[in-house]
């Protein structure tokens, strides 16, 4: 039997995402779940929404689990950042258990939290070093798409489920 867990998936626009949560009355239940220690996995925009705000939607508030702002990828690199890129640990990581550093994952995004963000445990680089994996307490997040990242991505999802049994 698995414990209750939440996956926040998503591609799309930061403003539409937080508005969608609000319209469905999910913002407060998510905050309550966070406070209650329910494991939450944010994927792509789902990870970004855990931060306070995003340059994609100035004036819109994220869930604010972390204080940093999500930033636009700089103009000196191709954006969106689409394709398979490498991820390297900056700290020990539960989600990357059994996966070597510099393994490839599939990314599709134009915004990212800086790697200096406090919950970062693994980083990628495209224009600036950004947060590829975050872990803190019951919160987990990946900027890449584990569901589209082949066997390596499947391992990340397995690690998430196994870490909360």
């Amino acid at each position: 039997m698995y414990k209750r867990q939440i996956v926040l998936p998503g591609v799309g626009h930061f403003a539409a995402f937080v508005a969608g949560l609000r319209e469905r009355n999910l913002t407060e239940p998510l905050r309550a779940a966070f406070q209650a220690g329910v494991p939450i996995l944010g994927i792509c925009l789902g990870l970004q929404a855990m931060f306070a705000s995003s340059e994609e939607a100035p004036g819109d508030k994220g869930l604010g689990f972390f204080p940093e702002e999500v930033r636009a990828l700089p103009t000196n690199v191709k954006s969106p950042h689409i394709g398979w890129n490498q991820v390297r640990r900056t700290q020990a990581s539960v989600l990357l258990r059994g996966i070597p550093d510099d393994a490839y994952f599939y990314f599709a995004h134009s915004f990212a939290a800086p790697a200096s963000a406090e919950p970062t445990v693994a980083a990628c680089d495209h224009g600036f070093p950004f947060s590829a994996v975050i872990e803190r307490g019951n919160l987990r997040g990946v900027q890449f798409h584990p569901e589209k990242s082949g066997e390596t991505g499947a391992q990340v999802l397995r690690n998430f489920v196994e870490s909360i049994q």
């Binding site: 591609v11 799309g12 689409i82 890129n85 990628c124 495209h126």
Partner: protein, 254 residues
């Protein structure tokens, strides 16, 4: 940390079967899309493209079913298109399991379609499919499966599509398509120098060297091919090994 160059097999689908055309005319049956998709997923493809080349009204439901069947086989991204006329067509394709949708003819007729799709689903989900023929020193965009000339300069149209929210450009050389004479590297280099989004090269792939050229001389972020993979004359894993040995950043399956 390096963004890998992608290898993308393409399935041209008509009435639920993979077919291969020669210069947009004449079709050969190449097999079942779900079976081929599963094989490419296993062999290390970085992404899969499925195009509806029938684009008829009755073909639409069949195509959505094909997307569902193919998506079930994959744990890599899936791009689908062909006959996308309006927002709801795009939504149906994404709901069926595709991650990105390609647009061509309808976007030329009504460029707002790109803006609408991009605002709704994000730039990363919108791919402009650009079918072009060389015209002197430049290239002209074509619609309706390569039948109609638009009068649009390919690079200018690509730039407009990106400004409207297209997140990738899939550029196909009609001159090279199905001819096995290699990618048009000048074409992809021109588009890549014009737009700030990834460029997928298509049309003419035959040898491993063709791929090497399109990533180096052609500045392509990804390369798409169909027949050379379908016929199992070239395996994706062998191609990736060839490219990696020559210094191209490639994702090798573990």
């Amino acid at each position: 940390m390096t963004l890998a160059r992608r290898i993308i097999p393409c399935l041209d689908v008509d009435a639920g079967r993979v077919v291969k055309g020669i210069e947009f005319e004449g079709l050969r049956d190449m097999g079942d899309p779900a079976e081929l998709g599963a094989r490419y997923n296993r062999e290390g493809a970085d992404e899969l493209v499925v195009l509806d080349i029938s684009a008829s009204v009755q073909g639409r439901a069949t195509f959505l079913e094909t997307i569902r069947r193919v998506a079930e086989q994959l744990n890599i991204p899936l791009t689908a298109g062909g006959g996308i006329r309006k927002m709801e067509d795009g939504r149906a394709v994404l709901r069926a399991g595709a991650d990105k949708v390609t647009v061509n003819t309808a976007a030329v007729e009504r460029p707002e379609l790109i803006s609408e799709l991009s605002q709704q689903f994000g730039a990363q989900a919108v791919v402009l499919s650009l079918d072009v023929k060389r015209k002197g020193d430049s290239w002209e965009a074509y619609t309706r499966g390569g039948r109609d000339a638009t009068g649009l300069d390919a690079a200018e149209w690509a730039a407009e599509a990106v400004s409207r929210g297209a997140g990738e450009i899939l550029v196909t050389s009609i001159d090279r398509d199905g001819t096995c004479s290699g990618f048009d590297c000048e074409l992809t280099a021109k588009i890549a120098a014009t737009v700030p989004v990834p460029v997928i090269a298509s049309g003419g792939a035959s040898t491993f060297e063709d791929f090497l050229s399109v990533y180096t001389d052609g500045c392509a972020d990804a390369a798409l091919a169909a027949s050379i993979f379908h016929q199992e004359t070239r395996s994706i894993s062998a191609l990736k090994k060839f490219l990696a040995e020559r210094g191209v950043p490639i994702r090798l399956s573990r």
